[in-house]
Symmetry: C2
Amino acid sequence: MRQAGRYLPEYRAMRKKAGSFVTLCKTPELACKVTLQPLHRFDLDAAIIFSDILTIPDAMGLGLSIRENEGPRFERPIRSIDDINKLGALDPATDLAYVMNALRLTRNELNGRVPLIGFSGSPWTLATYMIENGSSADFRRSKSLLYQEPEALHKLLRLLTEAVSSYMIEQVKSGAQVLMIFDTWGGILAHADFKDFSLAPTRQIISNIKNTAEASEIPIIVFTKGGGPWITDIAATGCSAVGCDWTVSLGATRRLVGNQVALQGNMDPSILLESPEIIREQVRVVLDDYGGGAGHIFNLGHGVSPGVNPEHVAILVNSVHELSQTSN
Amino acid sequence: MRQAGRYLPEYRAMRKKAGSFVTLCKTPELACKVTLQPLHRFDLDAAIIFSDILTIPDAMGLGLSIRENEGPRFERPIRSIDDINKLGALDPATDLAYVMNALRLTRNELNGRVPLIGFSGSPWTLATYMIENGSSADFRRSKSLLYQEPEALHKLLRLLTEAVSSYMIEQVKSGAQVLMIFDTWGGILAHADFKDFSLAPTRQIISNIKNTAEASEIPIIVFTKGGGPWITDIAATGCSAVGCDWTVSLGATRRLVGNQVALQGNMDPSILLESPEIIREQVRVVLDDYGGGAGHIFNLGHGVSPGVNPEHVAILVNSVHELSQTSN
């Protein structure tokens, strides 16, 4: 999950200097520096590139802006089927060169210390942002398109599936050693719609990546917020690991899906707002739930909240290292 | 789920005349009339008493007010362990006499036409409203109490378990023929916490009701929004039916839980904003998912939204009757 961010004073300083979040993302030297900030502080086992989930819609011409405390907005959101028909294919090597340069720089700076994770939003999740023009309480527009014009939505999802596939393959060529697909809004769909509109595109992306020589061996993590009801389906997409939010039991999930995938997660991020003792105790709860043994990537069930004390993240990371040693 | 409400013009007229939502709830004649409003329009198979989920905290002295477009607020929310210690036990027959009178009136008016459902919020759900002072985006205060002072939270939940139990038993004595427990906010908890803080109190309430001669045979429905990951645990509480939101497959759930409970649900309520054709088609999707046969109570996966055209609810109800006849 997001490691760098507003909870770090050095991030806030750099963002202030850069002027905006989007400038940070689009300036490879700055994105690299921000990516490394948490690595300087914490004994982390991986780095995740600092970027935005909406780089693809932005590169497709929607015009992204992110204002503090307001969330993302597009200048030209999708408002009609016509808008979908006008969207073109993407050449990530050139259209998203800034992400690739940030990956190259960061991979070089990391110099083998820890692996570097690249990521993208899932097609469904990107589509909801493009249609709702940001986040949404009820996803009214997206659901209307789904029910009224399923073929138009499928067309948009096919475009995004192509774009995410080539984007992630290009990320691997640029230095990403692990890929993570975030399906932040899969969990709002009815179960059959989830399979058609969220899971199927994700499965296609994984297949596209695996069928590309330069990326065929890359581990892919799929995270669906609220994905508990579909965890066995997600595990069967061909991914290497399933990211779990805190509502699922890692132990029960392990028994359900067998050994086909690693499991990543799943501490409730709000626990980082509690005391060191509680954080340590809850790390133990997650480790005990998993039950030891291979195949567990400890993580939060979502990103770090802005109000978190950075010292608490250190306590989390150190507790994970210490307690997972004794429990294995 | 909620049948009467703002989507009905006759409801809006009655609310305007009454002056407030709380007045409607607390005036048995009006609550009875509102309960019957959807029955006059639609060929429904049951009536659910018009009331609020927060009657118990209000009767415990927190002082409820509900302003339009603002949601519920308490004059005296729980802000400290002291506030919990000061809460007293409840005598629902007198402290919530208005609910009992509404049930008696409505049962009498229904005169056997359809069964009457009584309901309550679950202890965990009531506790979150009492602690957050209404709804919440992150349930920060409730989670802090859970992690920092679990014993105080357990104390509050024990009080609420007693209150909900006696409230629901009194509802049966007053004419309710089915009971429904709404665990609206169970789905925000980590899985182990869900079992301790949400499921255990619900299980205790069901046991308390079943052990009371006058209520031992009453069917009890448990609905947990976001309860997909725990559906087998919910089915094992001793309830008669499990309410499902639209993220779970009724067919898959039936295979998972066997025949121990009926399943209620689970059309996405946002579909009521679509065209008659789409509503009808999606009714078929839900019926086909369940797969026919006994044990299915068709319902929405949540309440009817304010913007829904009442004609669409008629189409829903008629489609369910027509299509479930042909599919069985």
